[in-house]
Symmetry: C2
Subunit: 597 residues, 2 copies
């Protein structure tokens, strides 16, 4: 059975000592946010995750969701009650707009709650994640009437929400969407079509489900320029939010899938269902994209969450499981064998998992903070810089980090040997669950193309130049600090590789875009390594300062820095490999005829 | 639904044109083996795999195995009939000793049958694999009486077999085995204890199941030096092989696990069951290890098999699934979108899968051939050289190749996007199934330690020196052939890295064995890359020769060489990363206190 302890202390250290989150007291919602408040919030939610969500994780996987013949869907035992407590705890409205019932706290707090919750129960966490996505979409694009109608219900968790994008023939390529919207006389639209892979499309947790849906208004242009965003509630509410008539939509089936069994993945059939346009006609895809950063960072955090619980359990197992003796000599002579944590190869795996988790959490928190600044700062240039950074880091967090998280979870399962393959021990479920993070909200290949094709060239490379400068400045400022050398030197080498790869694209991908496509995934991983290496250098510097100041956390800070040092030593040389692959270009790949594979 | 086409032509090319398998006509059993016979065998078994085994793959996963209260276990529908046809086809006795009813054909043919069968249905393939393992154990260590009693039944497939090693407290460390063997008056032993993770421990396919089991004879020394090997039949046969009295053993439970659901993983309880010593008393572990090479190569072949079917389906999907347009311009203007095979990032994945599969098959076949030579050659030095090579390549095939196979299968699933996560499409089952290959028959970490700690230093490094010389000679002999430069140059660089890593171990691991442990996995992967790169160079050379000779297979040979070229370009630079990790040593890893993870 898996155990989990929310990493409250490590998160608090990152927020305050590494990222300086409390410097932003000028932002709306930040003034009240003291380290003490954050600590109290994290402890409270950590307890909820450990005590309420974790016990439902494996039972939810086994029981799964049930669809009845009338199209209704029931979640596994205990989920409804856990969701009720979650909603009543106010966790959905944490960073929501106070005008609509939210608590107005920083977005980064929602990110942390998302991590702790997903560690304990990833499938459970999908519903709140979708509600937050819908809140963002309606906040940014909805009419005032839509905001007043939907936001309070969503922020209170009384209603749930979904995102309806995919159709059988339209996945990555949303320009192929066929779902139609025919104008009704009352200003609404009649939505007709089939959507697939709809997480939480139907369930028994809430009185109503608000479907956000992409469809094509009759007569709209073909392709991506003719797609509009609609809100299509399961039950049509009156102006006061009282649930009324059942809409003409139904869950036609739920998918049997590899993992997240406790989350219903629905085929949704719309048969002239009433929907209302959100934002501008034919601009639905743009509206969808403005909320994508948040959703994609959410996926990166989910994957980190699974890597965290996997790493905790692998470390515990490595300390408990006794097999063989240390090759350097017996370490625990009192027992008939040493715990497997004595073996360097097991430590190599633990370091790769835990060294990543610590830095990845810093990367994700840093992006969450950037989102707060981008959305709330009164200073335009500060907003712009934060938005640049957020846009740049989003595909890295979704793409590079989830790939690495998956490898970590597999490595954690491996530490259990055969016991990792057995369902009872829970590790194999983590592998099956986290696998989806590399796929949904845009496959990781799409993230790489977003990074290389859109985020790099945007505004003349302003975002990437700013990132380079920040890392360069850090390297320069700290290159004389010998205690940081194990962090700064590999970071410098990694940055060099990243800059070389960037220049290579500038020289080779403009005339021949296949070169960008061929190198995109490796570039994304190269970027991810530099971002992680940068965070490790910041963490080590902050930890050294705290240790020198006699901080009571010195013991574990010191241990974390040791893990970081071992991680950096083995992980960062990968940047050279990624650079070599980027500069290999597309020729050999494109030479193979389509029939030749 | 997955499709599968057995790679008969590609295998025949490797055997004849790349590996020169028919040069060994002097070996017993090889004289009758013509290319025509091999082709006929592969076509026949390929059809069996495609038509009989593949249709049971997904249904077997869904239905799984059922244990009844009386301890009996029933396999999924159709498995019994398929097994009957498999046994009647003579597939179990293919390379068995003719004195006991085998056909005496080369072992490499069994390896190919194992690949095709596992591609179509990995769970089904486990039972024949275990029978072959038992045949080897009894052939090498059994008494003449045991051979006469068991081998004909096993080679005919009338009886099945298992390997009983693991106990709850004894996995990797078999020295912790507690199962006891008390001598009976009649020369047999009374076996008492519990074994776990016993594949095929109980089922309804055969009249009898022959359990090979490790136990400690009362009074034997502690640790690995007091373990003996026993044969413990489910039903005790008389001297003529008639099944008699039920033995005191039972399947106590079957495990719920991540994959290979159609293979029952049993908890086996022995309650004074009658067993007979196989080989020498207290030398059971050595007896087990002599059959390990074969079993471990079998696992490598299983994983390759899954990578093969995954790659075939990913390529087909990439040619059929239409999303978006090629970034270099529309490729299929007649359709509303291009097939995703036009995208360089999709090709990158396909190349990483298929480029690996082709070379990995060559590595595995080469090892199977070495096994044939090691067991059958009349020439002692030839036997020794082949045995050296087999021992060296075994951990590489089991460890490095299964790690890479798993990544491939995940990459193939990724090409399907969301459809890869849905059970109906079959890709997620492949990921769940192949995952076990990295764990069983010794986890891949153990393979790495076997390579670095045992296989490298054995006989003064004779095996590794011979491998180095062979690759060096090839590089020297072909460095002027410009058509081979894309293969030979990266191979040379990889060999340099491997030699440096080897020397680093010689200089740094003798005094400090943790350095060997810390670098073992990276060394194993470095070795794997060089072995694969070597095979690609041989394949390219042979393909060029065939193409120049006007071979009718020129079209696909040429395409394969293009895939190989792209694979080598992106895969081989990894050797430098692996070397960097090896030479990082153990210090940073070992500095972390046990409680610090």
């Amino acid at each position: 059975m898996l155990t989990y302890k929310a990493p409250v202390e490590k998160t608090l250290f990152l927020l305050k000592d590494v990222l300086g989150a409390y410097r932003h007291a000028n932002l709306p919602g930040f003034a009240e946010v003291s380290p003490e408040l954050v600590e109290a919030v994290l402890i409270e939610f950590g307890n909820f995750a450990e005590e309420v969500l974790l016990p439902l994780n494996r039972s939810g996987d086994i029981e799964g969701c049930t669809r009845h013949d009338d199209g209704s869907v029931v979640l596994p035992s205990g989920f409804k009650e856990a969701y009720r407590r979650f909603a009543e705890g106010g966790w959905l409205g944490l960073s929501g707009d106070p005008s609509y019932g939210g608590q107005g706290l920083p977005f980064f707090l929602s990110g942390i709650v998302g991590e702790f919750g997903s560690s304990a129960n990833m499938a459970f966490g999908l519903i709140p994640g979708l509600i937050q996505g819908a809140v963002t979409a309606i906040t940014l694009h909805g009419s005032e009437e839509q905001k007043r109608l939907y936001l309070p219900k969503l922020l209170a968790g009384e209603w749930a929400a979904t995102m309806n994008l995919t159709e059988p023939q339209a996945g990555t390529d949303l320009g192929l969407i066929r779902t139609r919207a025919a104008p009704n006389d009352d200003g609404s639209f009649a939505i007709t079509g089939t959507k697939i892979f709809i997480s939480g499309g139907e369930h028994d947790l809430t009185d109503n489900i608000v479907h956000l849906l992409l469809a094509r208004i009759d007569g709209a242009p073909d392709g991506t320029k003719g797609i509009s965003l609609f809100v299509v509630p399961k039950f049509i509410p009156d102006a006061d939010g009282n649930v009324g008539e059942r809409n003409a939509l139904e869950c036609g089936a739920i998918e049997s899938k590899m993992g997240v069994h406790a989350s219903p993945t629905c085929v949704m059939n719309y048969d002239g269902a009433k929907g209302w346009l959100v934002g501008e006609r034919d601009k639905g895809l743009r509206a969808m994209f403005t909320m994508m950063n948040e959703a994609r960072i959410g996926v990166g955090i989910q994957a980190l969450a699974i890597s965290e619980i996997a790493g905790q359990n692998a470390a515990n197992y490595a300390r408990e499981r006794r097999q063989g003796r240390a090759i350097s000599g017996v370490k625990h002579p009192e027992a008939e064998a040493d715990p497997i944590v004595v073996h360097p190869d097991v430590r190599r795996s633990l370091v790769s998992i835990q060294g990543f988790n610590i830095a990845a959490r810093a990367v994700a928190l840093s992006a969450s903070l950037a989102a707060d600044i981008a959305h709330r700062s009164p200073d335009e240039s500060e907003r712009q810089a934060a938005d640049d950074r957020l846009g740049l880091m989003t595909p890295v967090i979704k793409g590079a980090l989830t790939d690495r998280n998956f490898k970590n979870v597999v490595a954690a399962q491996q530490i259990f040997g055969g016991h990792g393959y057995i369902a009872e021990n829970g590790m194999e479920q983590l592998v099956r669950d986290v696998r989806i993070a590399m796929i949904y909200e845009g496959t990781n290949g799409i993230q790489a193309l977003d990074l290389v094709g859109r985020k790099l060239p945007r505004n003349g490379g302003r975002a990437i130049m700013s990132f380079f400068k920040e890392v360069e400045d850090f390297v320069k400022a700290n290159s004389d600090d010998q205690s940081l050398t194990p962090f700064v030197l590999p970071l410098k080498a990694g940055l060099d590789d990243l800059q070389k790869a960037t220049i290579w694209f500038m020289q080779n991908a403009m005339a021949k875009p296949d070169n960008a496509g061929a190198g995109a995934t490796d570039y994304m991983h190269l970027f991810g390594l530099v971002a992680l290496g940068h965070m490790w250098a910041l963490i080590a510097k902050a930890a050294h300062e705290r240790i020198d100041a006699g901080d009571p956390r010195a013991e574990w800070l010191n241990q974390d820095v040791m893990i970081g040092r071992a991680w950096v030593e083995r992980a960062m040389p990968e940047t050279a490999l990624r650079l070599a692959r980027v500069t290999a270009g597309a020729d050999a790949l494109m030479a193979v005829p389509e029939a030749g594979f």
